[in-house]
Subunit: 205 residues, 4 copies
Amino acid sequence: MNRRELLRDVSIATAAASLVSSAQAQVPAAGINVLIAYYSVTGNTEKMAQGVAEGAKTVSGTSVVLKRVGEVTAEDLLSSDAVIIGSPVYFGNMAGEVKTFFDNWLLKFDFFREFKMRNKVGGAFATGGSISNGKEITMMAILEAMLINKMIITSAGGTFGFGASATTGPDSPGIDEKELAAARDLGKRVTEVAGVNKRGLAQVQ
Amino acid sequence: MNRRELLRDVSIATAAASLVSSAQAQVPAAGINVLIAYYSVTGNTEKMAQGVAEGAKTVSGTSVVLKRVGEVTAEDLLSSDAVIIGSPVYFGNMAGEVKTFFDNWLLKFDFFREFKMRNKVGGAFATGGSISNGKEITMMAILEAMLINKMIITSAGGTFGFGASATTGPDSPGIDEKELAAARDLGKRVTEVAGVNKRGLAQVQ
Amino acid sequence: MNRRELLRDVSIATAAASLVSSAQAQVPAAGINVLIAYYSVTGNTEKMAQGVAEGAKTVSGTSVVLKRVGEVTAEDLLSSDAVIIGSPVYFGNMAGEVKTFFDNWLLKFDFFREFKMRNKVGGAFATGGSISNGKEITMMAILEAMLINKMIITSAGGTFGFGASATTGPDSPGIDEKELAAARDLGKRVTEVAGVNKRGLAQVQ
Amino acid sequence: MNRRELLRDVSIATAAASLVSSAQAQVPAAGINVLIAYYSVTGNTEKMAQGVAEGAKTVSGTSVVLKRVGEVTAEDLLSSDAVIIGSPVYFGNMAGEVKTFFDNWLLKFDFFREFKMRNKVGGAFATGGSISNGKEITMMAILEAMLINKMIITSAGGTFGFGASATTGPDSPGIDEKELAAARDLGKRVTEVAGVNKRGLAQVQ
């Protein structure tokens, strides 16, 4: 590519890398509202949700709401700039409670008809007892529900291209530091993209 | 939700709705580069690609590169702000040629190591001979490859939550006007989101 | 391939084609128990379930239990040779009620620990408001849950490779004859494969 | 459930458990032909393929053909009773070479028109650099292609519900004993189900 494109590309990469430090300096009032919703029985998915929250908070001016899916209100969802949802894996997909939570975006909250979640940034995380038994499918199912609602989707990419996940069964009980780091990366990444998206939307008004 | 949040929400929705008209007025110089890459044997996927291009061009200041996946260069990809990829459905997933194109992002172009596609906005479209036989899976497989590359994913939402698709077999031969309209909606939506994302990134530099 | 293999291959195809007529003559007492479970609000998925039941009954010596997922008992599941499950598509995946039904295979029925559903033959069907908006993903999610339970999966193949599906929104309201025919094909196919599997299991005892 | 059903259920479970020992005694001539096809650059997927072959050979009277996808002939496929396919994960899905292999079932071998692969039993395995980055999606994509061809799908269930997989990146380089055991379980399971299916088909002729 030519020199100009190279510089452009590098500058974008730099911009992304320096979002945290620059965000506050640039747009002091641009608070980013992040909703992290999860379902958890054993506490594993809850621990991952806390990691996602820690990552989101590393982005200046971010306020985080951390709730179980059953406690999330329409206002929690509508007032958010980013929504990150997590579920344990049951039989290869999200728990029935999490699917029911999404169904309520239509049946209870009536968001779908007017695409009330449009342009919010979304991410997903999952915990499962074994390595390849539904964490990918679960994260993608969460992201698919978000896409249908006109949300904008992202992840930390690479090793965690679909979101953050943790193996919690006999092979690797509980949430280890590496898995928590992935949760933090997801929270930081989704919040940064939501910040960029929010600033961009403000520009075109 | 309180009045302030309501106004904020409405203004964002309005912003999104008025992106096209406002983009030129606000940021005359902000050209958005859209790459549309596809594989096509019968011409159906190519026709959808042209529809996606038409939609992208409705966004002021957009330049479109429309190419077959086999002809796409590293520079085509690196100089893009948005990448929209389409494939016919073969046995429930993207054609081998399209999968090989993605594999080349690693094997030939070496983009993956440094996440060179990071922060570009992505979308997908697919054509298939029958109604429920792989178009969804194909579009999601394209979006999954993009997520792993740290791209930001979107769609026109709703009826076309995974992207734009067309049924081309006996039940509905060729590409009809409704399917072309979906292709245009996808091109317009992905380009708008890329424009917002590009403006936002410029703000945080 | 050589003549012997050709004959073998042809004979298998013939066998499959003639399962219905031959089943009763061969093994008069070999009743095949088929459970068809579904969730339905509008009646569309229920109508598809009835089509699946009609198809299953075309196989001699088959008894069908047709129930809503909420009414299915552990005995309904354990006494079946084949299980075919259908769901409407909500936000790109099975309804929360259907996912909760699967979760109960673990939480309520405790089937998973000893793989109590092992070797039963499974199939899936789905109804959705639009063409490419989750019917494939929903059918695959149902089949994935079955695979994890060590079930054996099949479909009518071809146009309905993932199972039987119907588009029920504005473009194609309700269940048309073609969609009902797909439901019947699924019911017949899954029952035939279950019959073959049951006879095979009897041989190795 | 009643006593009769309980006994029936237990006997089926027992049958499945004792397939290996009983197969030869019962049907000495019933050779099961298993084709294991894979793509491998680093040797990891090849090592898993060898594990799958070892597992298949534990079933009496089984002959195994182990080949790279590029070397598989139409006769290899048509003369098989079971087909087990493996791929490394590239960007969240099977390698382009493996997808092209499937595409050839239509484009080169012309199997699809007459469902020449109908009633063969299929399974999948995958290797990927990281834990949750496409192994599930890859295995399901392989199984989906098989379903469209009217094949009958199975897996070892449970922890490996989608097939056998191995993590080969920094976290867990190469193929360890546990992953090889999963490959063997898959080979054994798919071969057993193919044996049951073959005996069942013979009964209904």
